[in-house]
Symmetry: C2
Subunit: 220 residues, 2 copies
Amino acid sequence: MRGHTMEDLTPEQIAAAADLYGPLAHRVRELVAATVLTEVDAPDVAKALELIAEATALLQTKALDDSFGVRWNSEGKRRTWGNAVVGLRNPVAPPLEIRHADGLAFADVTLGPQYEGPPTLVHGGVIALMLDQVLGDAAVEAGVPGMTGTLTVRYRKGTPLGALRVQARVDRVEGVKTFVTGEIVVDEAVCVEAEGIFILPKEVRGLGDSPPPELLAPGD
Amino acid sequence: MRGHTMEDLTPEQIAAAADLYGPLAHRVRELVAATVLTEVDAPDVAKALELIAEATALLQTKALDDSFGVRWNSEGKRRTWGNAVVGLRNPVAPPLEIRHADGLAFADVTLGPQYEGPPTLVHGGVIALMLDQVLGDAAVEAGVPGMTGTLTVRYRKGTPLGALRVQARVDRVEGVKTFVTGEIVVDEAVCVEAEGIFILPKEVRGLGDSPPPELLAPGD
C-alpha cells in the first residue's frame, strides 16, 4: 500500500532514531510557540529568519520526498512519527502520548498558544483533531479498528489552553462499524463530548481474524 | 473579555506587522515540514538544533506571556493572527485564507507532510479542524455568528495531501442556532461532508442588531 514502508531496523535502531529526531521536533515546537508570541523588532526577526532558513536547508540536504507515511520493521513494529497528532517527529503534533487502561484510551497533554481559537481557548477544530485520533486509537486497541466514517463533536463549554485530558472507549460494535465515545476533560469537568463511527475498510473484510498489520492503521 | 486586546494601531502599522511576522511564520512552516521529512545524521541534527535554539531564544527576548488572543484597533479591525487555522503568524496554521462569494465561504489550500494521518492522506482530524473554522466563518459572514455547538464530519473517502478546497455556507437559522454545511473538495470530488451548529452565546442575546464587535468572533 502506498505510503507504507518496510524497513529492516532493529528495536535499537528505532530507539536511536527516536532519540535523534524526537528532540529536534520538540525544539521546533518551542520555536513555533515563540513565533506566535514574539514582539521583537525587525532586525531580530531578520536574524531569526536567517537562522531558521539555515536550519531548514541543513535538514533538507537528505530528506524524504513527500510524506513520512507509516513505517514498519521486520518485527511488525509500527511507526507513525509523521502523524499530525501523535507524530513524535512532527512539530504540528502536541504530540499526544496515548495510553490504555481498562478499556480506556487516554492522553494527558498541555496545549500552548499555537492551538488557540477563541481568545485563551483551545480551537474547537484542534479539539476535534485530538478526539479523532484518540477515538480511533481506542478502536484499534480494542481489536475493532477502522477508518473514521463519522465524527460528531459536541462542545459543552470552552476548553482553556493548558492542561487537559482526551479520553475514549469503544461503546459497541455493529458489523463492520465500531462506535466509540470520548471526552475532553479539564479539572474533572467535561468540556466536550464526541462520538466516532469507525468502519473497517472493504479491502480487509473477510480476511478473518488476522488482517495484515499494515491495514490495522488507527482510524485517523 | 479575557484575551481581547484593544490596540491603537493604524492600518499602516498593522500592515507593517503582517509584513514582519507573516514571513517569519512562513519560514517556520518550511522548517516544520523539513523536520518531518529529514533523514540527516546526528551531527547535522545537532547543528540544526543549535540554530533553532538560537532563533527561539532571540524571538523570546520580547514576547507576549500566554497567547495571542484577538486584537482590535480603534477602527474595529480584528486580528486573529494566532489562530490555529487562519493565523498568519501561527506556523501550525496552513494558514487558510478564507474568501467569500455568493454566500459561500471557501479556502484553497495545499497541505504538506505535517498534516498527514493515514499514509499519504490528510489526517481526518485536520479535516475537522479546517471545516470547523470555515463553517464558523460562513456563519460570521452571513451575520449569524456563534460558538461551535456541534460539529459533525462525514468522511466519504480519503483526502490526499496536496491541493484541496474547504467550503461552507449557511443552510438555515433557527432562533439562536445557525446551521452551516460544508465540504472538502479535491478535483471537483467531495471527499468529506460536514454540518455545524453554531450558537449565539448567552451573553450577547437580546443586545439587538448590534452586539459589540468583540463578541462576534468566529465560531471556532
